[in-house]
């Protein structure tokens, strides 16, 4: 039998390695037509169109522009939906062509002639700082301070004051966003690449002013999301709008360049960090001022100052966040929003402080270890970071490190070792799940969550199998359909901590019903057994202590009307949101920098995590690794190059927008302490999806400094910056 934590291989693995797994663009409906978007090529203004050539092109069904697109009952400014002629940013969807074939749609879209009336655009990030304004992130204010920061800095023996920047990054999941939409009367069917089927359902219902039940959303597999598929974007509703207008099912798959602007990005950050410390390395004050860009369509705030509030014991902390409005695609949540960028800045600053103090960077962290929440003084739900530091340092061989920069070399290569602290909040959301014992001997476990690569089919199967003590091979996990019990967005490292308590509760309730049925069935060998003496073992109901008295649950159900026994459970967060709940980790990295050519390659990484209980060792490991790969990418590769004269992205493709390739990634040694945190949820898991990227950028930047003596404060650290 399987136990929670076992490295069960992905139950959807065979579907994924054979091509059987069906992604959203892969559904066809009889009569399907193809849509292709026309994108803006100015950053601000108004647009009208000449469409005659496009309309004449072979196969064209419709050319939709603001002039003829249907008026939506409840349009939303955040989404550009052909409801007006405004252009807010480059690469905004401004028109749409529907044609019989994909080739015809693409070609006809190229024939649509936009006529722009350009307006002044806000494109100078730094120049707009005086107009910046405060913001919030998920309801948390962007500004929070305590103690006397100025006093703390005045009394400091050592100060570090630096500015760190991170560029606009684009999520670029390998699966481009795609929607297939189809109307039957006032019922809307949507197949969408999403991290949140319920969100799509609710937004569609609102925009088209139809009941939520009239919208049926399916997404069995999401080809990666990392935040950009968490919200509904223009193309989803444009597909639905087009389908309504042409009265045929419409498929709209974004082209890769169309994923640079209309579907969110991690905004640029400009972070001023000031640290004050005693000669012994005790922090006396931290000041963290963050400016990030947002759009004219909505305010999204990258919460880069937030991790500073929880990382180190310090009596005087001030965190400030300012939004800078630009005529540029709207930013959104991207893997470890705020924390990936914020930990980069604060953890490089800590490294700089360690060098000011001539102190080992790990010792500096230990000297400022936060035993309790630095602001409230409340204890964490569970924090074992000290063990992470110790285990990681030992595994890496950190004690052998020479503190001096440029102290290690092999031929042309300068060798550097760096480390950083990692952190991510532990949170969860309401969720529901259904568990059904079927007369055919199978168990259905279902929840309207999503599989974005984190392994939800597997985790749901593993939790159900281990709780019910039914073989994995008898369990069918179902998700990704809005007709299933509602579950939250797959984001914020919250899925496991949200879904598994609901699955657990549904399992327990369904099992109670099954047991009651058996005990009350005069034809069952378990008839008359006290409920607390009946248990499931290997798919059989067993009278404990009376081993001869047992029967498979399928036999029981077949005898009782051949009907299933099921339970649906809904669970809510059990933790007071004010209680400090955070995951932590420690990461150690070795880089090799070519002394002459400036190229940096990561040689090895050791990371140890305190993330509560691990539900599946195999899939959790993959998420840690994935997070670290993202951190390497943040440190060395990813950068959205913009020609700010026009606000147009120069590298809106996968050739010049650099994601790491296989050759960029070394062996990554990851492990978790696996100490359950039952305060957050009944399974004790805190989530593993995002912590891996946090701290990683800093550990690598710090290793580059150790290798070269050069402190690069604007990632990515590309060869030109090290020459």
């Amino acid at each position: 039998m399987i136990t929670i934590g076992d490295p069960l291989a992905r139950v959807d693995g065979p579907a994924k390695v054979t091509g059987e797994a069906k992604f959203s663009a892969e559904y066809s409906i009889p009569g399907l037509v193809y849509a292709s978007l026309v994108m803006s090529t100015i950053p601000s203004g108004h647009v009208q169109f000449r469409t005659a050539a496009a309309e004449r092109a072979p196969g064209v069904v419709a050319v939709l522009t603001p002039a003829n697109a249907m008026r939506l009952p409840a349009p939303e400014k955040r989404l550009t939906l052909l409801q007006d002629d405004r252009v807010y940013y480059q690469n905004q969807p401004i028109a749409l062509v529907v044609a019989e074939t994909l080739e015809q749609a693409h070609y006809a879209a190229s024939l649509v002639e936009p006529r722009y009336e350009a307006a002044p655009a806000k494109l100078d990030f730094l120049a707009e700082f005086p107009q910046s304004y405060p913001g919030q992130h998920n309801g948390e204010p962007g500004d929070q301070s305590w103690g006397d920061v100025e006093g703390g800095l005045r009394s400091a023996a050592v100060r570090v004051e630096q500015t760190y920047t991170t560029p606009v990054e684009h999520h670029n999941p390998m699966e481009p966003h795609a929607t297939v939409a189809h109307w039957e009367g006032d019922h809307l069917r949507i197949y969408d690449a999403t991290q949140h089927i319920t969100g799509v359902q609710e937004d569609a219902a609102k925009l088209f002013a139809i009941p939520k039940e009239n919208v049926h959303v399916t997404c069995l597999f999401t080809g990666g999301g990392f935040g950009c598929k968490g919200q509904v974007w223009s193309h989803v509703m444009l597909a639905a709008l087009a389908a309504k207008q042409v009265k045929r099912p419409v498929k709209l798959a974004l082209e890769r360049p169309q994923m640079f602007g209309p579907v969110g990005a991690r905004p640029r950050t400009h972070q001023q960090v000031t640290l004050g410390a005693t000669r012994e390395g005790k922090l006396t004050a931290i000041r963290h001022v963050v400016h990030t860009n947002t759009s004219l369509l909505e305010d999204y705030m990258e919460s880069a100052a937030f991790p500073t509030r929880v990382m180190y014991a310090c009596p005087n902390i001030s965190t400030t966040s300012r939004l800078v409005q630009l005529n540029f695609g709207t930013p959104t949540y991207m893997r470890a929003p705020g924390v990936a960028t914020g930990t980069y800045a604060i953890e490089v600053a800590m490294d700089e402080l360690a060098y000011e103090l001539k102190m080992d960077p790990l010792q500096l962290r230990l000297a400022n270890y936060a035993e309790t929440d630095p602001h409230s003084g409340e204890p964490f739900t569970g924090k074992h970071l000290r063990e992470c530091y110790a285990k990681g340092a030992a595994q890496f061989g950190w004690s052998k490190r020479n503190h001096e920069p440029r102290s290690m070399r092999a031929g042309h290569e300068l060798i550097g070792w760096g480390m950083a602290t990692e952190t991510y909040p532990g949170k969860n959301l309401p969720a529901s799940a259904l568990v059904r014992f079927q007369p055919d001997g199978r168990v259905l476990v279902a929840s309207g969550t999503q599989e974005i690569g984190t392994g939800n089919y597997t985790v749901m199967t593993e939790v159900a199998a281990s709780i019910l003590r039914v073989p994995v091979s008898q369990i069918d996990a179902r998700l990704g359909d809005s007709n299933l019990p509602e579950a939250p967005i797959s984001a914020g490292s919250m899925s496991t901590a949200s879904i598994t308590p609901a699955v657990k509760a549904a399992c327990e309730q369904a099992r109670q019903k099954l047991i009651a049925l058996a005990a009350g069935d005069s034809r069952s060998p378990l008839h008359g057994a006290p409920a607390d003496r009946i248990e499931l073992q290997d798919g059989k109901l067993v009278w404990t202590g009376e081993t001869s008295k047992s029967e498979p649950f399928s036999t029981l159900l077949q005898r009782n009307g051949n009907r299933p026994v099921e339970a649906m459970a809904s669970t809510k967060p059990q933790l007071d949101p004010k209680t400090p709940c955070h995951s932590f980790g420690a990461i150690f990295a070795e880089v090799r920098v070519d002394a002459d050519l400036g190229t940096t390659r990561v040689k090895r990484v050791v990371a140890v995590y305190d993330v509560g209980r691990i539900i599946n060792q195999r899939t959790a490991r993959s998420q840690f690794i994935g997070g670290i790969v993202w951190g390497i990418s943040l440190a060395l590769l990813e950068d959205t190059h913009v020609d700010w004269r026009y606000g147009r992205i120069v590298n809106h493709d996968l050739e010049k927008y650099h994601l790491p390739v296989n050759a960029d990634i070394p062996d990554l040694q990851v492990s978790a302490l696996d100490i359950p945190d039952y305060k957050l949820d009944t399974l004790g898991a805190r989530g593993v999806g995002e912590i891996g990227i946090t701290g990683t950028g800093a550990a690598i930047a710090n290793a580059v400094f150790h290798a070269t003596g050069k402190r690069i404060r604007d990632v990515p650290i590309t060869p030109d910056k090290l020459l």
Binding site: Q90, Y107, P257, H641, V642, R645, R648, V661, D664, P719
Partner: protein, 327 residues
């Protein structure tokens, strides 16, 4: 992609006869189809030459090797004759693109690769003299980290993207082409153009000419050559700077040297002054540094690509050291 008429050519003569200003030859397609999808190339007729028998790789009586224009890049790089006699070329080809792309891409197509300049590849930028003559150069005062430091003009600062061609330049390859009036040979050095005031023309190929082979002369450089590619990520990326370096060593002396650079100019850039400086000298790190300096003499960087001057200098020195075994 615009609609086009598709034709298959059976042989080179047929291909050359049927070509017109409205048509383009289609070989591997890795660049042409890409540009057609972007709306940068809009041929009305595609003449598929993939079935023309020009894919063989043969030893020549003079000890050289003839590379068929339609031999795939991967087959060329892995051909025993190339690996033995021109490892510099194998290395250069293998440093480029990905295995999948090298399986599609042909030698002739590689020679005709167009620049990866974003202002050229994205019609959303209105300025590009190469795409739309007379429209201006978007890169000149825009994002130009990837652009030329040598041989550029105010009309165009794009670079040639090929790795293979850098090695071919160092190896003094000859390009055999066939036109309606017969065959002719173009020296590699004269094959690609500098932009001047006609950046829309990449090469000295006449309209309608088909590349039939790349002829490599016998080479004294097989034992001491190196292709060095510097880029942001470890693989699957065009060069920031690349260097093909080859030395002919005679005892402790350099008899002759060949150096070509990629990623720095509108064409593979032969560093003849650096080669002269090396000839007759003894290999040594400071000599290689001087060669590096000579290779970038007269370089003109722009806003974002100043680093390329220093990087190219150091890359030349490193490539020579690797080639000469004096790392």
């Amino acid at each position: 992609m615009n609609p086009f008429q598709y034709e298959r050519a059976r042989d080179a003569a047929g291909a050359v006869q049927s070509v017109s200003p409205r048509s383009k030859f289609l070989a591997g397609g890795t660049n042409l189809i890409d540009l057609m999808k972007n709306g940068v190339e809009k041929p009305e007729v595609l003449i598929d030459v993939n079935r023309v028998a020009l894919a063989s790789i043969d030893s020549q009586p003079d000890g050289g090797v003839r590379l068929g224009a339609l031999a795939r890049n991967s087959d060329t790089a892995n051909h025993p004759l190339v690996r033995q006699r021109y490892p510099l070329l194998s290395q250069a080809i293998l440093s480029g693109a990905s295995p999948q792309l090298r399986n599609l891409a042909t030698n002739g197509g590689n020679l005709l690769q167009r620049t990866r300049c974003p202002y050229f590849m994205d019609p959303g930028f209105t300025q590009c003299n190469k795409r739309t003559p007379g429209s201006g150069c978007g890169a000149l005062e825009g994002f130009n980290r990837l652009h030329a430091i040598l041989g550029a003009s105010p009309q165009c600062i794009a670079v040639h993207p090929s790795d293979m061609c850098v090695a071919l330049a160092a190896l003094d390859a000859k390009i055999r082409v066939q036109g309606k009036s017969g065959e002719r040979i173009i020296a590699m050095a004269a094959f690609h153009r500098l932009p001047g005031d006609k950046p829309e023309i990449d090469t000295n190929l006449d309209p309608g000419e088909l590349i039939v082979s790349i002829d490599l002369p016998p080479s004294p450089y097989a034992a001491h050559s190196h292709y060095l590619k510097v880029r942001d990520r470890a693989s699957y990326e065009f060069a920031l700077v690349s260097v093909a370096a080859a030395l002919e060593l005679d005892g402790g002396t350099i008899r002759s040297a060949r150096i070509a650079l990629g990623g720095v100019a509108h064409k593979p850039w032969r560093a003849e002054a650096a080669e002269k400086l090396l000839a007759g000298a003894k290999p040594a790190p400071d000599l290689f540094q001087k060669a590096g300096e000579a290779a970038v003499a007269g370089a003109t960087p722009y806003r974002d690509n100043g680093f390329k001057v220093e990087m190219a200098k150091r890359a030349v020195a490193r490539a020579l050291a690797n080639a000469g075994g004096v790392a």
